[in-house]
C-alpha cells in the first residue's frame, strides 16, 4: 500500500514538473510587452534602464531566439536536472531557490508547528465544552483574527513585541530568533481557522457511537479521549494542516516583505516583474514538487493514523 502511494506520487511529480515548467514558460512568453526591457529594468534599475540596456540584454541572452527553441533548451536542461541561470543575477537558479525556498520552508514549518500548538489544545477544549464560554470567546477571537490581513497581525506583533517591549527584532533573518514574530503572525492566522477545524472534529468524535460506547463500558474520560478521541479527530485536521502548509510556502509574500525575510514568495513576485523566466520556471517547478511531496507526507501520516485504509 505504501509502495503504491509512493509510486503514484513519483509519477505525479514527473508530470507536475513538466506541466508546471511548461505552463509557466507559455504564460511568461504570452505576456504583453518586450521581455528585454523588463529584464533590463530588473538588472539595471529604474535609473539605468533604456533602449540601449534592453538591446544589450537582448543580444546577451539571445532573446530573439524563437520560443520553441528556447523551450527545447529548457526541456533538455531539465532532463539533465539543470534549472539554468537567472536572467537578472546570472547565478544558478537552483542556488537562489535553495536560499529562498529554504527560508520559506523554515518559516512555514515554524508557523505550522506554532499553529498546531495553539489550535490543538484550544480546539479540543472548545470541542469538549462546546458552546461554553471558552468556545464562544475563541469563536470571537478566531473571527477577529481571520478578518485581519496577516500583514496587520504582523504589524501589531511588531508594535507590541519589538517596539513597546523590545524582545524581538523588527525585521531581518539569520540572527537566532528573528523568525519568532513572522512565524507567530502566520501561526495566529492559521490557528484561527485550524482551531475551529479541531473543535468541530472533536465535537463529531465525542458524539460518535463508538466514543459513547467506550464511556459506557467504563473507561474514564481521559482514557476514552486518549484511546478513541485523539486519533480519530486527528485525521481531518492533519489533512487540513497539510493544505495550510502548502498555502503558507507559496503565499506569504506580505509577511516576507514586512519582516525582510528572503522567501520564495517575494522572490517569485520579483522574478515575474522582471520576466526572469528560468527563475519563474524553476521556482514553480520546485513548488509543484513540494506540493506533491507534502501531499505524500499527509497521505502517509493519515495512513499511519487511520488503520481503516490498510489491507487486512
Amino acid at each position: 500500500m505504501i509502495q503504491r502511494i509512493l509510486i503514484n506520487r513519483l509519477l505525479q511529480a514527473v508530470m507536475v514538473a513538466w506541466g508546471v515548467g511548461s505552463l509557466s514558460f507559455v504564460l511568461m512568453r504570452s505576456l504583453p510587452g518586450d521581455m528585454a526591457y523588463r529584464v533590463a529594468a530588473g538588472r539595471y534599475g529604474q535609473d539605468n534602464v533604456s533602449a540601449e540596456a534592453a538591446e544589450w540584454v537582448r543580444q546577451e541572452l539571445a532573446l530573439d531566439l524563437p520560443a520553441w527553441q528556447a523551450y527545447l533548451h529548457w526541456l533538455l536542461d531539465m532532463l539533465r536536472l539543470d534549472l539554468g541561470v537567472s536572467l537578472i543575477s546570472g547565478a544558478p537558479v537552483i542556488d537562489e531557490i535553495k536560499h529562498q525556498l529554504g527560508h520559506s520552508i523554515e518559516l512555514a514549518v515554524m508557523a505550522i508547528l506554532l499553529a498546531a500548538l495553539m489550535a490543538f489544545p484550544l480546539g479540543i477544549l472548545s470541542g469538549l465544552r462546546a458552546r461554553g464560554w471558552l468556545d464562544r470567546s475563541l469563536l470571537l477571537l478566531s473571527s477577529l483574527l481571520r478578518a485581519q490581513p496577516v500583514f496587520v497581525i504582523g504589524l501589531m506583533l511588531i508594535l507590541a513585541f519589538a517596539v513597546y517591549w523590545p524582545l524581538f527584532p523588527v525585521a531581518g533573518f539569520g540572527q537566532g530568533n528573528d523568525w519568532v514574530l513572522p512565524a507567530f503572525s502566520l501561526a495566529l492566522a492559521l490557528a484561527a481557522v485550524s482551531s475551529r477545524v479541531v473543535r468541530d472534529s472533536t465535537l463529531a468524535v465525542i458524539h460518535s457511537p463508538y466514543y459513547q460506547f467506550a464511556r459506557v463500558k467504563g473507561l474514564s474520560e481521559w482514557q476514552t479521549f486518549r484511546q478513541h478521541g485523539l486519533r480519530n479527530l486527528s485525521v481531518p485536521v492533519v489533512a487540513f494542516m497539510g493544505i495550510q502548509l502548502v498555502g503558507l510556502i507559496e503565499g506569504i509574500v506580505m509577511i516576507e516583505s514586512l519582516f525582510s525575510w528572503p522567501g520564495i514568495g517575494h522572490g517569485l513576485a520579483h522574478a515575474i516583474f522582471s520576466r526572469d523566466v528560468p527563475m519563474i520556471q524553476g521556482t514553480a517547478l520546485m513548488m509543484g514538487l513540494l506540493f506533491v511531496a507534502l501531499n505524500t507526507l499527509v497521505d502517509l501520516a493519515c495512513y499511519k493514523i487511520d488503520p481503516r485504509g490498510r489491507p487486512e
Binding site: G33, D34, Y37, R38, A40, A41, R43, Y44, G45, Q46, D47, N48, V49, S50, A51, E52, A53, A54, W56, V57, S86, I88, S89, G90, A91, H99, L155, I158, L159, A162, V163, P166, L167, F168, P169, V170, A171, G172, F173, G174, Q175, G176, N177, D178, V180, S257, L258, F259, S260, W261, P262, H266, G267, H270, F273, S274
Partner: protein
C-alpha cells in the same frame, strides 16, 4: 513520569526558542543600516551602488557633496591638447582586500570589464585603454570632457584581478574600500567588516550590515525600536512617529532627483508649447509637496534642482497654480469645455494616458493627484501603473503620451551625461524629450561635450536650462527630499546627495 519528562523538555525547548534576543539591540561597535533597495549580484554594472555606498569598492574619481570631482584612486589626471588622450595618475599604497597592491594593470582590467557591460563608460567614445608606468591612459575617438565624471560612476569601480574567474566573470568582490564583504546574502543582506589596511581613514566601526526593508512601515519601526542605527528613505508620513522619540533624529536632504511629467511633444494635443504651459500652470505643486510628499518647499520650477548649480536657474520664479490662465491658453488653442467636463477640439476629447511605475511608491499617489488637478482644467488623464521599463519602451515605439517619472540628474556626477541622453539628439531620449522639434538644445549640449572652460560651460548650461524651462518638453513637478533616520548613538553622520557613499569610515558609535 514519562509524560512529565516530555512536557518539561518541551517547555525548556520552547523557552530557549522564545528567549528575548540580545540581538534585538544593536551590538556595540556594529552599525545596522536599512534601506529599500535590493541587490542581486556582485556585478558593479548592476548593483555597484550598494558596494560603493557600503564602501567596499572605490572609483578612480570621487565626488564631493557639492558635485565637485575629487581625487579618488587617481590622485590627479591630465588631458592632451587635442583632448583625445587622458592620463590618470594612480594613488600609491592602495591595497585590495586580498592583499594585492593596486597597479595600473588591475585598473585596466576593471575598466575593460566595465567597457563590456551596460553603463556610461560603454557609451563613452573610448578607443582603447593603456598602461603607462603608474598611470592609466584612456584614448578617445572624440573629445569628451565627461570622462572623469563617468569614472566616478559605480559601474567603473576598481577591483582586484582575483575578483574575476577564468571567463572574466566576477565571482568575488575584492575592492579597496575601508570595508570588505563578510556576508553576501542577496537580495536582503550585505555584511561588511573593517579593512585595516585601507589607504585612507581607517574606520572606527568594526562592522556594518545593510538590510533591505521593502515596507516603509517596518523600516521606520526598525529605527524607532533601535534595531537599526540608520534608515534611508524614510516614508514622509512616518516622520511624526520618529520625531516623538528622543533617540532618533530625522534628517532631510535635497537630492539631485526630480519628479517630472515626460510627454510626447509631437502629440496632436501637446505639440503647441501653450498646451504644455497650460498643463504646467494647472498643477498644484505646493499641494503635492505639502500633502502628498510632506516636503513643503520641494516644488520644482525647472528640471534640475539647486545642488547642481551650473544647470539650475537660481532666479527663476516658482510656478504658481493659475487655473484661469491655463484655461485661457487652452481656450486660445480652440479647446472648448465639453458637457462632461472634458475639453473638446475638432470632435476630439482632451484625454491622455499617463503611465508611471511602482518602483517609487510616491509616484502613483502623485499621478492620481495630477489626474485630479488636470481634471479641473478639463483635461482627462487615465493613469496606469506599470514597470519602469515601460517608459523607454513607450518612447521607442511611440505609444507613450504622458509619463510621470523620477529622474536622477546625479546619476553621473556631471548632469551633462544625463542631459545628453535626454536631449542630445533630435529624437530626444528614453527618459527625456519626445518628438520635441528643437535643435538648439541638442547643438548646445554637443558643444559642451568638448568644453573645458568652466565659465563657458556654466553660461551654456544656464542657456539650456532656460530653454527647457520655456519650452517645457518635460514638465517639472517637485524635487526630491531624502529623509534619513539616524540613531543618536551614531556620531559624524553625513549624507551624500549623490548617494555614492554612506561615509561609514567617518562614523563612530557612542556606547
Amino acid at each position: 513520569m514519562c509524560y512529565l519528562k516530555r512536557i518539561v523538555c518541551f517547555g525548556l525547548l520552547i523557552g530557549c526558542l522564545f528567549s528575548p534576543s540580545v540581538l534585538a539591540q544593536p551590538a556595540n561597535n556594529h552599525l545596522t543600516i536599512g534601506g529599500p533597495f535590493e541587490f542581486t549580484t556582485l556585478n558593479p554594472s548592476q548593483n555597484g551602488y550598494v558596494f560603493t555606498r557600503m564602501q567596499v569598492v572605490e572609483t578612480l574619481v570621487d565626488v564631493s557633496p557639492e558635485g565637485e570631482l575629487l581625487a579618488g584612486l587617481a590622485t590627479h589626471w591630465d588631458v592632451s591638447d587635442d583632448q583625445l588622450s587622458w592620463r590618470f595618475h594612480l594613488r600609491d599604497g592602495v591595497v585590495f582586500h586580498d592583499g594585492r597592491v593596486m597597479d595600473a594593470a588591475s585598473v585596466e582590467q576593471s575598466l575593460s570589464h566595465a567597457l563590456q557591460q551596460h553603463g556610461p563608460l560603454a557609451q563613452a567614445p573610448v578607443e582603447r585603454l593603456a598602461v603607462d608606468g603608474d598611470a592609466l591612459v584612456i584614448e578617445l575617438s572624440q573629445p569628451y570632457q565627461l570622462l572623469p565624471a563617468v569614472l566616478a560612476h559605480y559601474s567603473t569601480v576598481v577591483i582586484s584581478p582575483d575578483s574575476f574567474d577564468d571567463q572574466g566573470r566576477i565571482t568575488r568582490l575584492l575592492g579597496s574600500g575601508p570595508f570588505k564583504i563578510a556576508v553576501f546574502a542577496p537580495p536582503h543582506k550585505l555584511g561588511v567588516e573593517r579593512f585595516e589596511d585601507y589607504w585612507g581613514q581607517v574606520a572606527a566601526i568594526a562592522s556594518a550590515e545593510y538590510l533591505t526593508g521593502h515596507r516603509g512601515e517596518s523600516r521606520v519601526l526598525q529605527a524607532r525600536s533601535g534595531q537599526a542605527d540608520i534608515i534611508y528613505t524614510v516614508d514622509p508620513a512616518s516622520t511624526g512617529m520618529l520625531n516623538r522619540v528622543s533617540h532618533v533624529q530625522v534628517q532631510s536632504d535635497l537630492i539631485p532627483r526630480a519628479i517630472l511629467i515626460k510627454l510626447d511633444s509631437g502629440h496632436a494635443f501637446l505639440k503647441e508649447v501653450e498646451a504644455r504651459q497650460a498643463l504646467s500652470l494647472a498643477l498644484d505643486r505646493s499641494g503635492i509637496a505639502r500633502a502628498v510628499l510632506r516636503a513643503p518647499g520641494s516644488e520644482a520650477n525647472q528640471l534640475i534642482p539647486a545642488p547642481l548649480a551650473d544647470w539650475h536657474l537660481a532666479d527663476l520664479p516658482p510656478i504658481e497654480r493659475d487655473l484661469q490662465q491655463a484655461a485661457a491658453l487652452l481656450d486660445d488653442l480652440g479647446w472648448e469645455m465639453g458637457r462632461d467636463g472634458v475639453r473638446v477640439r475638432d470632435n476630439q476629447r482632451f484625454s491622455l494616458n499617463l503611465i508611471t511605475y511602482a518602483d517609487r511608491p510616491e509616484l502613483t499617489v502623485v499621478a492620481t493627484a495630477i489626474q485630479a488637478q488636470l481634471a479641473e482644467l478639463g483635461v482627462e488623464v487615465r493613469v496606469s501603473v506599470t514597470n519602469s521599463s515601460a517608459i523607454p519602451a513607450g518612447h521607442q515605439d511611440g505609444s507613450l503620451e504622458m509619463a510621470l517619472i523620477a529622474r536622477n540628474y546625479g546619476f553621473i556626477a556631471d548632469p551633462l551625461g544625463v542631459m545628453l541622453s535626454d536631449f542630445g539628439s533630435p529624437q530626444g531620449g528614453d527618459w527625456g524629450a519626445m518628438q520635441w522639434n528643437n535643435t538648439d538644445v541638442a547643438e548646445l549640449l554637443k558643444r559642451l561635450e568638448g568644453e573645458m572652460d568652466a565659465d563657458t560651460y556654466h553660461a551654456t548650461a544656464q542657456r539650456i536650462a532656460a530653454l527647457l524651462a520655456d519650452e517645457l518638453p518635460l514638465i517639472p513637478v517637485t524635487f526630491y527630499t531624502q529623509l534619513t533616520a539616524v540613531n543618536q548613538r551614531v556620531e559624524n553622520f553625513r549624507f551624500d546627495p549623490f548617494e555614492r557613499s554612506y561615509y561609514l569610515n567617518e562614523m563612530e558609535l557612542s556606547q
